[in-house]
Protein backbone atom coordinates (compact mmCIF):
# COMPACT_ATOMS: atom_id res chain seq x y z
CA UNK A 1 0.00 0.00 0.00
CA UNK A 2 1.27 3.42 -0.91
CA UNK A 3 1.76 5.82 1.96
CA UNK A 4 -0.75 8.66 1.97
CA UNK A 5 0.39 12.28 2.26
CA UNK A 6 -1.73 15.36 2.84
CA UNK A 7 0.06 18.49 1.67
CA UNK A 8 -0.58 22.19 1.09
CA UNK A 9 0.64 25.73 1.74
CA UNK A 10 -0.42 27.16 5.09
CA UNK A 11 -2.08 30.54 5.61
CA UNK A 12 -2.59 33.44 3.21
CA UNK A 13 0.24 32.20 1.04
CA UNK A 14 -0.34 31.76 -2.72
CA UNK A 15 3.07 30.32 -3.76
CA UNK A 16 1.61 27.65 -5.99
CA UNK A 17 4.68 26.63 -8.00
CA UNK A 18 6.49 25.01 -5.06
CA UNK A 19 3.26 23.35 -3.97
CA UNK A 20 2.77 21.72 -7.38
CA UNK A 21 6.40 20.58 -7.43
CA UNK A 22 6.01 18.94 -4.02
CA UNK A 23 2.88 17.21 -5.31
CA UNK A 24 4.52 15.74 -8.42
CA UNK A 25 7.74 14.89 -6.54
CA UNK A 26 5.79 12.91 -3.94
CA UNK A 27 3.87 11.12 -6.70
CA UNK A 28 7.14 10.30 -8.46
CA UNK A 29 8.30 8.67 -5.22
CA UNK A 30 5.18 6.52 -5.06
CA UNK A 31 3.14 8.38 -2.44
CA UNK A 32 -0.61 8.83 -2.72
CA UNK A 33 -1.03 12.61 -2.54
CA UNK A 34 -3.94 14.70 -1.29
CA UNK A 35 -2.97 18.24 -2.22
CA UNK A 36 -5.04 20.96 -0.57
CA UNK A 37 -3.20 23.65 -2.54
CA UNK A 38 -2.34 27.16 -1.46
CA UNK A 39 -4.13 29.25 1.16
CA UNK A 40 -4.92 26.39 3.52
CA UNK A 41 -5.67 26.72 7.23
CA UNK A 42 -4.39 24.39 9.93
CA UNK A 43 -7.89 23.04 10.71
CA UNK A 44 -8.35 22.10 7.04
CA UNK A 45 -5.10 20.14 7.11
CA UNK A 46 -6.16 18.23 10.22
CA UNK A 47 -9.61 17.52 8.77
CA UNK A 48 -8.00 16.12 5.61
CA UNK A 49 -5.60 13.93 7.62
CA UNK A 50 -8.54 12.44 9.53
CA UNK A 51 -10.68 12.05 6.42
CA UNK A 52 -8.01 10.34 4.30
CA UNK A 53 -6.37 8.41 7.14
CA UNK A 54 -3.05 9.88 6.01
CA UNK A 55 0.37 8.67 7.13
CA UNK A 56 2.09 12.01 6.59
CA UNK A 57 1.11 15.67 6.82
CA UNK A 58 3.52 17.84 4.84
CA UNK A 59 2.90 21.55 5.34
CA UNK A 60 4.85 24.06 3.31
CA UNK A 61 5.25 27.80 3.71
CA UNK A 62 7.08 30.27 1.54
CA UNK A 63 6.19 33.68 2.82
CA UNK A 64 7.25 32.67 6.34
CA UNK A 65 3.94 33.12 8.10
CA UNK A 66 3.80 29.42 9.14
CA UNK A 67 4.82 30.18 12.70
CA UNK A 68 1.65 32.12 13.41
CA UNK A 69 -0.48 29.26 12.11
CA UNK A 70 1.28 26.24 13.61
CA UNK A 71 1.34 27.07 17.30
CA UNK A 72 -1.88 25.17 17.88
CA UNK A 73 -0.64 21.98 16.26
CA UNK A 74 0.21 20.14 19.51
CA UNK A 75 -3.28 20.80 20.78
CA UNK A 76 -4.99 19.58 17.59
CA UNK A 77 -2.71 16.56 17.39
CA UNK A 78 -3.73 15.45 20.86
CA UNK A 79 -7.41 16.20 20.34
CA UNK A 80 -7.67 14.04 17.21
CA UNK A 81 -5.31 11.31 18.49
CA UNK A 82 -2.94 11.64 15.55
CA UNK A 83 0.22 10.40 17.28
CA UNK A 84 1.03 7.92 14.47
CA UNK A 85 0.92 10.54 11.74
CA UNK A 86 4.26 12.03 10.67
CA UNK A 87 4.13 15.82 10.82
CA UNK A 88 6.55 17.57 8.49
CA UNK A 89 7.03 21.23 7.59
CA UNK A 90 9.35 22.84 5.07
CA UNK A 91 10.05 25.94 3.06
CA UNK A 92 10.99 29.34 4.32
CA UNK A 93 9.97 29.25 7.95
CA UNK A 94 10.69 32.77 9.16
CA UNK A 95 9.62 36.20 7.93
CA UNK A 96 12.61 38.19 6.71
CA UNK A 97 16.09 37.44 8.03
CA UNK A 98 15.75 35.25 11.10
CA UNK A 99 17.65 36.53 14.13
CA UNK A 100 18.84 33.09 15.04
CA UNK A 101 18.69 30.30 12.46
CA UNK A 102 19.70 27.60 14.99
CA UNK A 103 16.49 28.28 16.92
CA UNK A 104 14.09 27.69 14.03
CA UNK A 105 14.23 23.88 13.92
CA UNK A 106 13.89 23.30 17.71
CA UNK A 107 11.08 25.86 17.85
CA UNK A 108 9.01 24.06 15.22
CA UNK A 109 9.78 20.68 16.82
CA UNK A 110 8.36 22.06 20.05
CA UNK A 111 5.16 22.88 18.13
CA UNK A 112 4.82 19.16 17.37
CA UNK A 113 6.59 18.62 14.03
CA UNK A 114 8.67 15.46 13.59
CA UNK A 115 10.62 16.81 10.61
CA UNK A 116 11.49 20.47 10.02
CA UNK A 117 13.25 21.87 6.94
CA UNK A 118 14.14 25.54 6.75
CA UNK A 119 15.48 26.58 3.34
CA UNK A 120 16.48 23.01 2.50
CA UNK A 121 16.39 21.51 -1.01
CA UNK A 122 13.11 19.67 -1.70
CA UNK A 123 14.75 16.35 -2.59
CA UNK A 124 16.87 16.32 0.57
CA UNK A 125 13.69 16.87 2.57
CA UNK A 126 11.87 14.03 0.81
CA UNK A 127 14.88 11.67 1.11
CA UNK A 128 14.85 12.34 4.86
CA UNK A 129 11.10 11.69 4.99
CA UNK A 130 11.54 8.31 3.29
CA UNK A 131 14.33 7.37 5.72
CA UNK A 132 12.17 8.43 8.66
CA UNK A 133 9.29 6.25 7.42
CA UNK A 134 11.73 3.35 6.99
CA UNK A 135 12.91 3.66 10.59
CA UNK A 136 9.38 3.82 11.94
CA UNK A 137 8.11 0.68 10.24
Amino acid sequence: MNKKVVTGVVGNDIHVVANRLIDISLQARGFEVFNLGVNTYLEEFIDAVVETDADVLLISSLNGEAEGWCRELQFLRAEYELKDVIFMIGGNLSVGEAANIEEIVPKYKSYGFDLVFHQVDLNIGLDTLEEFIGHKS
Binding site: G37, V38, N39, N123
Partner: protein
Amino acid sequence: MSLHQKERDIIVQNQYIDNFDFDEVEDFIKNASKDLFISHKFKNSNTTLVQPRGGFPTYQKQFELYEEFEKADIDVMPLTIDSHTRLNDYGSAKKMLMLSEENETDMLNGYPLVNHGYATTRKMITHFNRPVSLRHGTPDARLLIETALASGIFEIEGGPITYLLPYSKNFPLDKAFLYWKYVERVCANYSGLNEPINRESFGPLTATLVPPCVTIVIQLLEMLLSLEEGVKSFSVSFSQTGSVNQDAVMANVIREMADFYAKKIGVEDATINLVYHQWMGAFPRNKEFSDSLINTSSFIASLVRADKIIIKTRDEAFGIPTMQCNAQSVANTKYTFQMLKGLPTITDEEEEANLTEEIHSIMEAVFNDSADTLWRKVFNSIKNGIIDVPFSPHIINHNAVVTIRDEHSNIRVIERGNMPISDKCLAYEKSKVKLSKDKTAVINKIIEDIGVMHE
Protein backbone atom coordinates in the same frame (compact mmCIF):
# COMPACT_ATOMS: atom_id res chain seq x y z
CA MET B 1 -36.09 49.48 -18.01
CA SER B 2 -33.96 46.51 -19.06
CA LEU B 3 -32.69 44.02 -16.53
CA HIS B 4 -29.15 45.00 -17.47
CA GLN B 5 -29.82 48.68 -16.70
CA LYS B 6 -31.44 47.71 -13.40
CA GLU B 7 -28.30 45.79 -12.48
CA ARG B 8 -26.19 48.83 -13.41
CA ASP B 9 -28.29 51.07 -11.17
CA ILE B 10 -27.74 48.68 -8.26
CA ILE B 11 -23.99 48.32 -8.87
CA VAL B 12 -23.39 52.07 -8.61
CA GLN B 13 -25.29 52.43 -5.35
CA ASN B 14 -22.27 52.02 -3.16
CA GLN B 15 -21.31 53.94 -0.04
CA TYR B 16 -17.76 54.52 -1.32
CA ILE B 17 -18.75 56.44 -4.45
CA ASP B 18 -20.57 59.67 -5.22
CA ASN B 19 -23.56 59.90 -7.51
CA PHE B 20 -23.18 58.07 -10.77
CA ASP B 21 -24.79 59.98 -13.65
CA PHE B 22 -25.15 57.56 -16.59
CA ASP B 23 -26.49 60.25 -18.97
CA GLU B 24 -23.53 62.51 -18.29
CA VAL B 25 -21.10 59.58 -18.78
CA GLU B 26 -22.70 58.70 -22.12
CA ASP B 27 -22.40 62.30 -23.22
CA PHE B 28 -18.74 62.38 -22.18
CA ILE B 29 -17.87 59.23 -24.13
CA LYS B 30 -19.79 60.46 -27.20
CA ASN B 31 -17.72 63.65 -27.29
CA ALA B 32 -14.40 62.30 -25.96
CA SER B 33 -11.17 62.96 -27.86
CA LYS B 34 -10.28 60.20 -30.34
CA ASP B 35 -6.77 60.21 -28.85
CA LEU B 36 -8.12 58.53 -25.71
CA PHE B 37 -9.17 55.44 -27.68
CA ILE B 38 -6.52 52.78 -28.21
CA SER B 39 -8.79 51.26 -30.89
CA HIS B 40 -8.30 54.50 -32.85
CA LYS B 41 -4.55 54.43 -32.26
CA PHE B 42 -4.30 50.81 -33.44
CA LYS B 43 -6.04 51.78 -36.69
CA ASN B 44 -3.70 54.67 -37.37
CA SER B 45 -0.38 53.16 -36.37
CA ASN B 46 1.97 50.80 -38.19
CA THR B 47 4.41 50.18 -35.37
CA THR B 48 4.26 48.22 -32.10
CA LEU B 49 2.74 50.42 -29.38
CA VAL B 50 4.64 50.56 -26.09
CA GLN B 51 2.93 50.19 -22.72
CA PRO B 52 4.50 49.75 -19.27
CA ARG B 53 2.75 48.89 -15.99
CA GLY B 54 2.17 51.43 -13.25
CA GLY B 55 -0.17 52.54 -10.49
CA PHE B 56 0.35 54.62 -7.33
CA PRO B 57 -2.16 55.20 -4.54
CA THR B 58 -2.46 59.00 -4.64
CA TYR B 59 -3.71 61.23 -7.44
CA GLN B 60 -0.58 63.34 -7.12
CA LYS B 61 1.87 60.47 -7.59
CA GLN B 62 -0.13 58.95 -10.44
CA PHE B 63 -0.07 62.38 -12.13
CA GLU B 64 3.72 62.59 -11.68
CA LEU B 65 4.12 59.07 -13.12
CA TYR B 66 2.16 60.13 -16.21
CA GLU B 67 4.36 63.23 -16.54
CA GLU B 68 7.43 60.99 -16.60
CA PHE B 69 5.81 58.71 -19.17
CA GLU B 70 4.84 61.68 -21.31
CA LYS B 71 8.49 62.77 -21.46
CA ALA B 72 9.36 59.28 -22.77
CA ASP B 73 6.68 59.74 -25.50
CA ILE B 74 4.69 56.76 -24.28
CA ASP B 75 2.05 55.24 -26.60
CA VAL B 76 -0.33 53.70 -24.07
CA MET B 77 -0.52 54.69 -20.40
CA PRO B 78 -1.23 52.04 -17.76
CA LEU B 79 -3.51 52.34 -14.76
CA THR B 80 -2.76 49.47 -12.38
CA ILE B 81 -5.32 48.94 -9.61
CA ASP B 82 -4.44 48.08 -5.99
CA SER B 83 -5.13 44.65 -4.51
CA HIS B 84 -7.91 45.73 -2.09
CA THR B 85 -9.98 47.18 -4.94
CA ARG B 86 -9.38 43.98 -6.91
CA LEU B 87 -11.14 42.11 -4.09
CA ASN B 88 -13.94 44.73 -3.91
CA ASP B 89 -12.69 45.79 -0.45
CA TYR B 90 -13.21 49.54 -0.95
CA GLY B 91 -13.17 50.16 2.82
CA SER B 92 -9.59 49.00 3.25
CA ALA B 93 -8.58 50.80 0.06
CA LYS B 94 -10.03 54.04 1.44
CA LYS B 95 -8.16 53.69 4.73
CA MET B 96 -4.85 52.90 3.00
CA LEU B 97 -5.35 55.77 0.55
CA MET B 98 -5.80 58.18 3.47
CA LEU B 99 -2.64 56.86 5.13
CA SER B 100 -0.74 57.19 1.85
CA GLU B 101 -1.88 60.81 1.48
CA GLU B 102 -0.96 61.72 5.06
CA ASN B 103 2.42 60.01 5.27
CA GLU B 104 3.79 60.21 1.74
CA THR B 105 4.52 56.47 1.81
CA ASP B 106 2.67 54.14 -0.53
CA MET B 107 0.31 51.92 1.43
CA LEU B 108 -1.30 50.44 -1.70
CA ASN B 109 0.23 48.60 -4.66
CA GLY B 110 -1.91 50.47 -7.20
CA TYR B 111 -4.45 53.24 -7.83
CA PRO B 112 -7.74 52.77 -5.93
CA LEU B 113 -9.92 53.94 -8.82
CA VAL B 114 -13.33 53.41 -7.20
CA ASN B 115 -12.37 55.51 -4.18
CA HIS B 116 -10.90 58.32 -6.29
CA GLY B 117 -14.03 58.26 -8.42
CA TYR B 118 -14.57 59.12 -12.07
CA ALA B 119 -15.01 62.89 -11.80
CA THR B 120 -11.50 63.26 -10.33
CA THR B 121 -9.78 60.62 -12.41
CA ARG B 122 -11.27 61.92 -15.66
CA LYS B 123 -9.45 65.24 -15.11
CA MET B 124 -6.12 63.44 -15.12
CA ILE B 125 -6.91 61.17 -18.09
CA THR B 126 -8.21 64.01 -20.30
CA HIS B 127 -5.28 66.24 -19.28
CA PHE B 128 -2.73 63.80 -20.73
CA ASN B 129 -5.00 62.89 -23.68
CA ARG B 130 -3.37 59.52 -24.44
CA PRO B 131 -5.01 56.09 -24.40
CA VAL B 132 -5.08 54.47 -20.96
CA SER B 133 -5.27 50.73 -20.31
CA LEU B 134 -6.82 49.37 -17.12
CA ARG B 135 -4.77 46.61 -15.50
CA HIS B 136 -6.28 44.84 -12.51
CA GLY B 137 -7.04 41.14 -11.78
CA THR B 138 -10.59 41.46 -10.48
CA PRO B 139 -13.14 38.62 -10.74
CA ASP B 140 -16.06 40.99 -10.03
CA ALA B 141 -15.00 44.13 -11.88
CA ARG B 142 -18.46 45.57 -12.56
CA LEU B 143 -18.18 48.78 -10.53
CA LEU B 144 -14.49 49.16 -11.38
CA ILE B 145 -15.19 49.05 -15.13
CA GLU B 146 -18.15 51.45 -14.90
CA THR B 147 -15.82 53.86 -13.10
CA ALA B 148 -12.97 53.32 -15.58
CA LEU B 149 -15.10 53.97 -18.67
CA ALA B 150 -16.63 57.05 -17.05
CA SER B 151 -13.08 58.28 -16.37
CA GLY B 152 -12.01 58.02 -20.03
CA ILE B 153 -10.17 54.70 -19.77
CA PHE B 154 -11.11 52.96 -22.99
CA GLU B 155 -9.11 49.76 -22.80
CA ILE B 156 -10.09 47.09 -20.27
CA GLU B 157 -7.82 44.13 -19.62
CA GLY B 158 -8.91 40.81 -18.16
CA GLY B 159 -11.50 38.10 -18.49
CA PRO B 160 -13.33 35.45 -16.50
CA ILE B 161 -10.64 32.79 -17.04
CA THR B 162 -7.43 34.77 -17.33
CA TYR B 163 -8.09 36.96 -14.28
CA LEU B 164 -9.23 34.05 -12.13
CA LEU B 165 -7.22 30.87 -12.73
CA PRO B 166 -3.80 32.48 -12.10
CA TYR B 167 -4.86 34.60 -9.12
CA SER B 168 -7.47 32.89 -6.96
CA LYS B 169 -7.88 29.63 -5.06
CA ASN B 170 -11.64 29.48 -4.67
CA PHE B 171 -13.56 32.43 -6.14
CA PRO B 172 -16.47 30.68 -7.95
CA LEU B 173 -15.69 30.46 -11.66
CA ASP B 174 -19.36 30.52 -12.72
CA LYS B 175 -19.85 33.84 -10.94
CA ALA B 176 -16.76 35.23 -12.67
CA PHE B 177 -18.29 34.37 -16.06
CA LEU B 178 -21.49 36.25 -15.22
CA TYR B 179 -19.68 39.30 -13.80
CA TRP B 180 -17.53 39.50 -16.93
CA LYS B 181 -20.59 39.14 -19.14
CA TYR B 182 -21.81 42.37 -17.56
CA VAL B 183 -18.46 44.02 -18.32
CA GLU B 184 -18.59 42.93 -21.97
CA ARG B 185 -22.10 44.33 -22.35
CA VAL B 186 -21.18 47.70 -20.86
CA CYS B 187 -18.12 47.91 -23.15
CA ALA B 188 -20.22 46.87 -26.16
CA ASN B 189 -22.98 49.39 -25.42
CA TYR B 190 -20.52 52.29 -25.25
CA SER B 191 -18.73 51.12 -28.40
CA GLY B 192 -21.32 52.58 -30.77
CA LEU B 193 -21.03 56.14 -29.43
CA ASN B 194 -17.54 57.07 -30.62
CA GLU B 195 -14.54 54.81 -31.36
CA PRO B 196 -14.96 51.27 -29.95
CA ILE B 197 -13.86 50.32 -26.44
CA ASN B 198 -11.01 47.78 -26.65
CA ARG B 199 -11.08 44.64 -24.53
CA GLU B 200 -7.86 42.73 -23.95
CA SER B 201 -7.35 39.21 -22.62
CA PHE B 202 -4.46 38.31 -20.30
CA GLY B 203 -2.47 35.65 -22.16
CA PRO B 204 0.42 35.10 -19.73
CA LEU B 205 -1.86 33.20 -17.28
CA THR B 206 0.48 31.68 -14.65
CA ALA B 207 3.56 32.42 -16.81
CA THR B 208 4.89 29.03 -15.75
CA LEU B 209 5.42 26.57 -18.63
CA VAL B 210 1.91 27.07 -20.04
CA PRO B 211 1.80 25.20 -23.37
CA PRO B 212 0.90 27.31 -26.45
CA CYS B 213 -2.28 25.33 -27.18
CA VAL B 214 -3.71 26.12 -23.72
CA THR B 215 -2.83 29.81 -23.96
CA ILE B 216 -4.36 30.18 -27.42
CA VAL B 217 -7.54 28.23 -26.65
CA ILE B 218 -8.19 30.46 -23.63
CA GLN B 219 -7.47 33.59 -25.69
CA LEU B 220 -9.93 32.46 -28.35
CA LEU B 221 -12.65 31.61 -25.85
CA GLU B 222 -12.41 34.94 -24.01
CA MET B 223 -12.45 36.67 -27.40
CA LEU B 224 -15.61 34.79 -28.41
CA LEU B 225 -17.33 35.51 -25.08
CA SER B 226 -16.57 39.18 -25.65
CA LEU B 227 -17.57 39.36 -29.34
CA GLU B 228 -20.75 37.47 -28.51
CA GLU B 229 -21.85 40.42 -26.36
CA GLY B 230 -21.07 42.92 -29.12
CA VAL B 231 -17.51 44.10 -28.41
CA LYS B 232 -15.93 45.34 -31.68
CA SER B 233 -12.26 45.69 -30.77
CA PHE B 234 -10.40 42.92 -28.96
CA SER B 235 -6.75 42.12 -28.22
CA VAL B 236 -5.50 38.57 -27.81
CA SER B 237 -2.17 38.26 -26.03
CA PHE B 238 0.58 35.91 -24.95
CA SER B 239 3.88 36.25 -23.14
CA GLN B 240 7.40 35.40 -24.23
CA THR B 241 7.74 31.61 -24.05
CA GLY B 242 11.54 31.48 -23.79
CA SER B 243 11.91 30.23 -27.39
CA VAL B 244 11.98 32.75 -30.25
CA ASN B 245 10.71 30.18 -32.71
CA GLN B 246 7.81 29.17 -30.48
CA ASP B 247 6.85 32.84 -30.08
CA ALA B 248 6.77 33.25 -33.87
CA VAL B 249 4.71 30.07 -34.27
CA MET B 250 2.25 31.23 -31.60
CA ALA B 251 1.84 34.66 -33.20
CA ASN B 252 1.11 33.20 -36.64
CA VAL B 253 -1.33 30.62 -35.32
CA ILE B 254 -3.19 32.88 -32.88
CA ARG B 255 -3.84 35.45 -35.64
CA GLU B 256 -5.18 32.85 -38.01
CA MET B 257 -7.29 31.12 -35.34
CA ALA B 258 -8.76 34.40 -34.06
CA ASP B 259 -10.06 35.21 -37.56
CA PHE B 260 -11.30 31.67 -38.07
CA TYR B 261 -13.27 31.44 -34.81
CA ALA B 262 -14.66 34.99 -34.98
CA LYS B 263 -16.09 34.12 -38.41
CA LYS B 264 -17.35 30.81 -37.06
CA ILE B 265 -19.68 32.65 -34.67
CA GLY B 266 -20.66 35.06 -37.44
CA VAL B 267 -18.59 38.09 -36.42
CA GLU B 268 -16.79 39.76 -39.35
CA ASP B 269 -16.74 43.41 -38.34
CA ALA B 270 -14.53 43.23 -35.22
CA THR B 271 -10.87 44.26 -35.14
CA ILE B 272 -8.56 41.73 -33.47
CA ASN B 273 -5.15 42.93 -32.25
CA LEU B 274 -2.13 41.02 -31.00
CA VAL B 275 -0.38 41.97 -27.75
CA TYR B 276 3.00 40.58 -26.69
CA HIS B 277 4.18 40.52 -23.07
CA GLN B 278 7.88 40.71 -22.30
CA TRP B 279 9.08 37.81 -20.12
CA MET B 280 6.55 37.28 -17.30
CA GLY B 281 8.48 34.70 -15.27
CA ALA B 282 11.09 35.39 -12.63
CA PHE B 283 13.68 37.96 -13.76
CA PRO B 284 17.45 37.82 -13.23
CA ARG B 285 18.74 39.88 -10.29
CA ASN B 286 21.58 41.09 -12.46
CA LYS B 287 20.25 44.31 -14.01
CA GLU B 288 22.49 44.13 -17.06
CA PHE B 289 21.04 40.71 -17.82
CA SER B 290 17.56 42.17 -17.33
CA ASP B 291 18.36 44.81 -19.96
CA SER B 292 19.42 42.07 -22.33
CA LEU B 293 16.27 40.04 -21.69
CA ILE B 294 14.09 43.12 -22.24
CA ASN B 295 15.82 44.02 -25.49
CA THR B 296 15.43 40.48 -26.78
CA SER B 297 11.71 40.58 -25.92
CA SER B 298 11.36 43.83 -27.86
CA PHE B 299 13.09 42.27 -30.84
CA ILE B 300 10.65 39.34 -30.78
CA ALA B 301 7.65 41.69 -30.56
CA SER B 302 8.88 43.40 -33.75
CA LEU B 303 9.58 40.10 -35.43
CA VAL B 304 6.04 38.84 -34.80
CA ARG B 305 4.57 42.26 -35.65
CA ALA B 306 2.74 42.65 -32.37
CA ASP B 307 0.32 45.59 -32.30
CA LYS B 308 1.35 46.36 -28.72
CA ILE B 309 4.05 45.29 -26.29
CA ILE B 310 3.74 45.33 -22.50
CA ILE B 311 7.13 45.97 -21.04
CA LYS B 312 9.11 45.25 -17.87
CA THR B 313 11.93 47.18 -16.20
CA ARG B 314 15.48 46.26 -15.19
CA ASP B 315 14.29 46.41 -11.55
CA GLU B 316 11.67 43.67 -12.06
CA ALA B 317 13.38 41.23 -9.64
CA PHE B 318 13.32 43.86 -6.88
CA GLY B 319 9.66 44.94 -6.76
CA ILE B 320 7.79 48.03 -7.96
CA PRO B 321 10.15 50.21 -10.07
CA THR B 322 10.63 53.94 -9.56
CA MET B 323 8.85 56.29 -11.96
CA GLN B 324 12.15 57.24 -13.57
CA CYS B 325 13.22 53.64 -14.08
CA ASN B 326 9.81 52.79 -15.57
CA ALA B 327 9.88 55.77 -17.96
CA GLN B 328 13.45 54.94 -18.96
CA SER B 329 12.27 51.47 -19.95
CA VAL B 330 9.62 53.02 -22.22
CA ALA B 331 12.26 55.24 -23.85
CA ASN B 332 14.64 52.28 -24.29
CA THR B 333 12.01 50.09 -25.93
CA LYS B 334 11.01 52.87 -28.33
CA TYR B 335 14.70 53.37 -29.14
CA THR B 336 15.14 49.63 -29.83
CA PHE B 337 12.10 49.61 -32.10
CA GLN B 338 13.62 52.29 -34.34
CA MET B 339 16.15 49.75 -35.65
CA LEU B 340 13.72 46.89 -36.03
CA LYS B 341 11.67 47.94 -39.01
CA GLY B 342 10.69 45.62 -41.86
CA LEU B 343 12.03 42.37 -40.46
CA PRO B 344 11.29 39.24 -42.51
CA THR B 345 8.60 36.99 -41.05
CA ILE B 346 9.41 33.57 -39.63
CA THR B 347 7.18 30.63 -40.41
CA ASP B 348 7.54 27.01 -39.37
CA GLU B 349 4.93 24.97 -41.19
CA GLU B 350 5.39 21.74 -39.24
CA GLU B 351 5.10 23.43 -35.83
CA GLU B 352 2.19 25.60 -36.94
CA ALA B 353 0.27 22.61 -38.31
CA ASN B 354 0.73 20.68 -35.06
CA LEU B 355 -0.33 23.61 -32.86
CA THR B 356 -3.33 24.35 -35.08
CA GLU B 357 -4.50 20.75 -34.86
CA GLU B 358 -4.20 20.78 -31.06
CA ILE B 359 -6.22 23.97 -30.83
CA HIS B 360 -8.99 22.68 -33.10
CA SER B 361 -9.25 19.47 -31.05
CA ILE B 362 -9.66 21.35 -27.77
CA MET B 363 -12.05 23.92 -29.25
CA GLU B 364 -14.16 21.16 -30.76
CA ALA B 365 -14.42 19.43 -27.37
CA VAL B 366 -15.52 22.72 -25.78
CA PHE B 367 -18.17 23.37 -28.46
CA ASN B 368 -19.40 19.77 -28.16
CA ASP B 369 -20.17 20.18 -24.45
CA SER B 370 -23.89 19.70 -23.93
CA ALA B 371 -24.50 23.02 -22.12
CA ASP B 372 -26.73 25.61 -23.79
CA THR B 373 -24.49 28.71 -23.70
CA LEU B 374 -20.83 29.26 -24.54
CA TRP B 375 -19.85 30.37 -21.04
CA ARG B 376 -21.37 27.21 -19.53
CA LYS B 377 -19.55 25.06 -22.11
CA VAL B 378 -16.27 26.75 -21.17
CA PHE B 379 -17.05 26.40 -17.46
CA ASN B 380 -17.69 22.66 -17.86
CA SER B 381 -14.54 22.25 -19.96
CA ILE B 382 -12.39 23.78 -17.23
CA LYS B 383 -14.17 21.72 -14.59
CA ASN B 384 -13.51 18.45 -16.39
CA GLY B 385 -9.92 19.23 -17.38
CA ILE B 386 -10.39 19.72 -21.14
CA ILE B 387 -8.80 23.08 -20.41
CA ASP B 388 -6.02 22.73 -17.84
CA VAL B 389 -3.63 25.53 -16.87
CA PRO B 390 -0.29 24.39 -15.41
CA PHE B 391 0.43 25.87 -11.97
CA SER B 392 -2.98 27.46 -11.45
CA PRO B 393 -3.78 27.76 -7.72
CA HIS B 394 -7.54 27.49 -8.35
CA ILE B 395 -9.36 24.45 -6.91
CA ILE B 396 -11.33 23.90 -10.13
CA ASN B 397 -8.18 23.45 -12.22
CA HIS B 398 -7.14 19.88 -12.98
CA ASN B 399 -3.34 20.13 -12.76
CA ALA B 400 -2.92 16.99 -14.84
CA VAL B 401 -1.11 18.54 -17.81
CA VAL B 402 2.69 18.36 -17.45
CA THR B 403 5.08 20.35 -19.65
CA ILE B 404 8.84 20.61 -20.03
CA ARG B 405 11.31 22.45 -22.31
CA ASP B 406 13.03 20.75 -25.24
CA GLU B 407 16.66 21.43 -26.20
CA HIS B 408 15.65 24.67 -27.98
CA SER B 409 13.63 25.82 -24.96
CA ASN B 410 10.25 25.20 -26.62
CA ILE B 411 7.53 24.29 -24.12
CA ARG B 412 6.33 20.73 -24.81
CA VAL B 413 3.42 18.70 -23.42
CA ILE B 414 4.56 15.38 -21.93
CA GLU B 415 1.35 14.51 -20.03
CA ARG B 416 -1.96 15.62 -21.56
CA GLY B 417 -4.31 14.77 -18.66
CA ASN B 418 -7.90 15.21 -19.95
CA MET B 419 -6.83 17.71 -22.59
CA PRO B 420 -8.20 16.21 -25.83
CA ILE B 421 -5.18 16.52 -28.12
CA SER B 422 -4.69 13.62 -30.51
CA ASP B 423 -2.21 10.77 -29.99
CA LYS B 424 -0.41 12.04 -33.07
CA CYS B 425 0.01 15.57 -31.66
CA LEU B 426 1.14 14.27 -28.28
CA ALA B 427 3.63 11.95 -29.97
CA TYR B 428 4.97 14.94 -31.94
CA GLU B 429 5.44 16.97 -28.73
CA LYS B 430 7.10 14.09 -26.91
CA SER B 431 9.40 13.29 -29.84
CA LYS B 432 11.08 16.67 -29.26
CA VAL B 433 12.26 15.91 -25.72
CA LYS B 434 14.68 13.33 -24.41
CA LEU B 435 13.15 12.40 -21.08
CA SER B 436 15.15 10.76 -18.33
CA LYS B 437 13.67 7.51 -16.97
CA ASP B 438 14.33 8.77 -13.45
CA LYS B 439 11.19 10.66 -12.42
CA THR B 440 13.03 12.82 -9.90
CA ALA B 441 15.45 13.90 -12.64
CA VAL B 442 12.46 14.93 -14.79
CA ILE B 443 11.09 17.03 -11.95
CA ASN B 444 14.47 18.68 -11.40
CA LYS B 445 14.50 19.52 -15.11
CA ILE B 446 11.03 21.13 -14.79
CA ILE B 447 12.27 23.22 -11.87
CA GLU B 448 15.21 24.39 -14.01
CA ASP B 449 12.89 25.10 -16.93
CA ILE B 450 10.66 27.35 -14.81
CA GLY B 451 13.64 29.45 -13.74
CA VAL B 452 15.13 29.49 -17.24
CA MET B 453 15.92 33.24 -17.21
CA HIS B 454 17.89 33.14 -13.97
CA GLU B 455 21.57 33.90 -14.41
